[in-house]
Subunit: 117 residues, 2 copies
């Protein structure tokens, strides 16, 4: 934001810009939106989420399934947990994770539709 004005003289289409500005949400809301969708933007997390869409799984199984360490899985699950996308269920030593929201399914499927077209 180092430029003091956008276009050299003025905004080109003031009316359209004003109309669009009215319909946009607050900057904070876009930050929330981006923070949510960012979580789908990593191959490991995408695979994790898609696997959990099929079946509840424990950290150990997820690590074996994806071919990564338990530590890596646990770190990613923590991120997803804090964003309320997955929820844990402890049974003895084993912690089972599952999707906490149907929006996860919807967003993943929308993405798959796009890349497969």
């Amino acid at each position: 934001m180092e430029q003091t004005f956008c276009c050299e003289r003025e905004v080109i289409h003031q009316d359209v810009v004003a109309e669009v500005r009215e319909k946009l949400s607050s900057a904070e809301e876009y930050t929330s939106l981006a923070n949510l969708l960012k979580l789908f933007g990593d191959p490991t997390r995408a695979r994790l989420l898609h696997a959990l869409e099929v079946h509840e799984l424990c950290v150990c199984d997820l690590a074996a399934l994806l071919g990564v360490t338990k530590s890596a899985v646990s770190h990613q699950l923590k991120t997803l947990r804090l964003a309320n996308l997955v929820k844990p269920r402890r049974d003895g030593q084993v912690v089972y994770y599952s999707l906490s929201d149907d929006h996860v399914r919807a967003i993943l499927n929308m993405g798959f539709e796009h890349i497969r077209e």
Copy 2:
């Protein structure tokens, strides 16, 4: 992936893991999916896309609308263009951008639904 085995002895739920493995896509497909959804994971790009959902806009107007430099907008638009999420239309000096796909709307709206619940 430095661990030579996942769980100390074996995968805990071999049957479930096998079932899930069958239903998962290829690793490359998750990379494509992540590369797509990653584009929504930045506040500037999310605002950019949402603005274009309302109306076709030129680089100048977008910069004014978001309060960032034309250069920053142009860089982000290039990324989105290469992913086929937006498309340019030149009219003289001015380049107008618009969404090239309805999946963009669907994904954004799904995201908004989630954060607003």
